[in-house]
C-alpha cells in the first residue's frame, strides 16, 4: 500500500471522528465502561479463585493446645488422634515453628513480627488432615472435647463462600459486559452510519471513479477501530491504576491477603481488553458498512 493512500485513510478517518464528535465520545465512553467492568470483574474472579485455591489446600484442622500441656501429653494425644479412622495425617507444630511460618506468609512485611520471639504469643498446635472434606466439621466438634485442646479452627465455609462469590461475580460481570458490549457495537455502528451519510456524495464519486469497495470502506473501518481502541485504552488505564492502588492499600491494611500482581497474568489481561476494544470497533463499523456501502 502506498504512503499517500495510507495518509488518505487516516486523514479521512480523523475528519469523521471530529465531525461526529459527540457520538464519537459516547461510543468511546460506552466501550470504556463495558471493558472497565469486564476488566474489574475478571480481576476479582481471578483473585477470588487464587485465594480460594490457597485456602482449599489448607483445609485442615488446627488444634491449638493449652499453654500448660506437656510434651508427653501431646505425644499421647497425637497417637490417639492418629488412630481415628477419618484422620490421615497429624503434624505437631511448635509455637516457634508457627511463628516462623507466619513470618513467611508476611513476606517482605515480616518486620511487623520482630520482637515476638521472646514472648511468642502463638500456642503449640496439632494440624490434622482428613480423608474427606465433609468430615472436617464433625471431627472438629469431636476434637474440641479433649482436655488439652484450647481451640479448634478450620477454614471450611470460607472456601465455599469465596468460590460462590467468584462464580457470582463471573456471571454478573459477564452479563453486564455482554450487554454493554452489544450497546457499544451498536453505538459505533450508528456513528459510522452517520459518517457514511455525511460523506455519501464523496462515496458516490469514489465509486464512479473506480475505487474498490475496500478502499471506500477502509477509512470508516479505521474510524470504528479508533473508537473501539480508544475506549479500551481508557478502560485499561483505569483498571491498571485502580488495581495498583488497590494492591497498595490492601498490602497496608490486610497484609495476609495476597492479590495477584503477576505480570504473566496482568499482561494478557491488558492485551485481551485492547483486543476486545478493537473487535467491538470492527464489528460496529462492519455492521454499518455491510448495510450502507454496497455497490
Amino acid at each position: 500500500m502506498r504512503l499517500s493512500t495510507i495518509n488518505y485513510y487516516f486523514r479521512e478517518a480523523f475528519q469523521s471522528v471530529l465531525r461526529n464528535s459527540w457520538l464519537s465520545v459516547a461510543s468511546i465512553g460506552v466501550v470504556a465502561v463495558s471493558l472497565l467492568i469486564l476488566g474489574s470483574s475478571l480481576l476479582l474472579v481471578l483473585n477470588a479463585n487464587s485465594i480460594a485455591a490457597n485456602l482449599e489446600s489448607s483445609v485442615e484442622i488446627s488444634l491449638f493446645l493449652k499453654e500448660e500441656t506437656s510434651s508427653d501429653e501431646i505425644e499421647a494425644l497425637e497417637k490417639e488422634i492418629k488412630a481415628m479412622p477419618e484422620v490421615t495425617e497429624v503434624k505437631f507444630v511448635s509455637k516457634a515453628q508457627a511463628l516462623e511460618e507466619m513470618k513467611k506468609n508476611f513476606g517482605d512485611k515480616q518486620d511487623i513480627l520482630t520482637g515476638l520471639e521472646e514472648k511468642n504469643p502463638l500456642p503449640d498446635a496439632l494440624r490434622i488432615k482428613t480423608s474427606v472434606v465433609d468430615q472436617v466439621a464433625p471431627l472438629a466438634y469431636q476434637l474440641e472435647s479433649f482436655d488439652a485442646v484450647d481451640q479448634v479452627r478450620y477454614g471450611q465455609g470460607v472456601v465455599e463462600k469465596l468460590l460462590a462469590l467468584s462464580k457470582w461475580v463471573r456471571t454478573a460481570g459477564l452479563v453486564t459486559m455482554v450487554l454493554l458490549g452489544i450497546a457499544a457495537v451498536f453505538l459505533i455502528a450508528t456513528t459510522i452510519r452517520l459518517s457514511v451519510f455525511a460523506r455519501r456524495k464523496e462515496v458516490g464519486i469514489m465509486k464512479m471513479l473506480g475505487a474498490t469497495n475496500w478502499f471506500v470502506r477502509f477509512p470508516f473501518l479505521l474510524e470504528g477501530m479508533f473508537l473501539g481502541l480508544t475506549g479500551s485504552l481508557l478502560a485499561v488505564v483505569a483498571v491498571y491504576y485502580g488495581y495498583l492502588s488497590l494492591i497498595g492499600s490492601i498490602e497496608l491494611s490486610l497484609p495476609f491477603i495476597q492479590l495477584i500482581s503477576d505480570r504473566s497474568l496482568l499482561v494478557p489481561l491488558v492485551e485481551s481488553l485492547l483486543g476486545l476494544g478493537l473487535v467491538i470497533g470492527v464489528a460496529g463499523s462492519m455492521i454499518s458498512l455491510r448495510k450502507f456501502l454496497n455497490t
Binding site: 502506498r2 499517500s4 493512500t5 464519486i205 469514489m206
Partner: protein, 228 residues
C-alpha cells in the same frame, strides 16, 4: 466495442426504463443519445458503467459481459470509463487540482504520477491556471471542464456524458462540445445523452433516439429534429 443485445431494464418499482434495446457502438465513435425526459437515456448509461444490471439481455463492453462480471471487477471497469454529469459532481472542499487528483488517489496512484498527470489534463481542458481554486469560485462551464479533466486523467477508452451541457448557457455549451470533440478526435469513444437539439443538429454525428425505453432511431449522421 459496446454491444447491447435485447436489453430490457425494469426497475424494482415496476418501471420499464428500457425495452428490448439492441445496438452496437464501435471504438472511436461519437454518439448522441437523445429522447424526451424519462426515455431511458440515463438508464442506458448506468448499464454501461454497471451501476445497474439489465433485467434481461446482454451488455458487452470491450469483449466482456457486464452481466457475468464479478462485483470485484467492477471498479476496474470504471477506471477505464470517464463519467461526466449535468451536476459536475465535484467535491467542494477540494481544490480543482485535488478533485482531479482524487481520480488517481482512489486507484492508488503515486504522488509522482499525480503531479505529472493532473497539470497535463488541466491544461488540456483549458484550465492550467485554476489548479488551486475551489469549485465554488468557478463558472459552471469551468466546473464542467474540471469534471472532464477528472474523467480523462485515467486515460479512459470511453467517456460517458449524461447531459453535460444541461446546466450551461449555449455559448459555454459550445465550448464544452469542442472539448469533447477534441477528446473524441484523439481516439476516445464518446457517448453523450442530451436534450440540446441545436448541438445535435449541427454536429451530424450518430444519433440514437429512445422513446419510452425503445430504441426508435439509429442514424449515422443524424439530427435531433428540434421540432419533435
Amino acid at each position: 466495442m459496446i454491444q447491447l443485445y435485447n436489453v430490457t431494464k425494469t426497475y424494482d418499482n415496476g418501471v420499464k426504463a428500457l425495452s428490448d434495446v439492441t445496438l452496437r457502438i464501435h471504438k472511436g465513435e461519437f454518439v448522441f443519445l437523445v429522447g424526451p425526459s424519462g426515455a431511458g437515456k440515463s438508464t442506458l448509461t448506468k448499464l454501461l458503467s454497471r451501476e445497474e444490471l439489465p433485467s434481461r439481455g446482454q451488455v458487452i463492453l470491450d469483449g466482456k459481459s457486464l452481466i457475468r462480471m464479478r462485483p470485484g471487477e467492477v471498479p476496474y471497469l470504471r477506471r477505464k470509463i470517464g463519467m461526466v454529469f449535468q451536476d459536475f459532481r465535484l467535491l467542494p472542499q477540494k481544490t480543482v487540482f485535488e478533485n482531479v487528483a482524487f481520480a488517481l488517489e482512489v486507484i492508488g496512484a503515486s504522488k509522482k504520477d499525480i503531479h505529472k498527470s493532473v497539470p497535463k489534463v488541466l491544461s488540456m481542458v483549458g484550465l492550467p491556471d485554476k489548479a488551486g481554486v475551489f469549485p465554488n469560485h468557478l463558472s459552471g462551464g469551468e466546473q464542467q471542464r474540471v469534471s472532464i479533466a477528472r474523467a480523462l486523467v485515467n486515460n479512459p477508452f470511453l467517456i460517458i456524458a449524461d447531459e453535460p451541457t444541461g446546466n450551461l448557457d449555449p455559448e459555454t455549451s459550445w465550448d464544452l462540445m469542442k472539448l469533447l470533440l477534441d477528446i473524441n478526435l484523439r481516439g476516445t469513444t464518446v457517448i453523450m445523452a442530451t436534450h440540446a437539439c441545436d448541438i445535435v443538429d449541427a454536429l451530424k454525428k450518430r444519433v440514437l433516439e429512445l422513446t419510452g425505453g425503445k430504441l426508435v432511431r439509429d442514424e449515422k449522421e443524424g439530427a435531433y429534429r428540434c421540432e419533435a
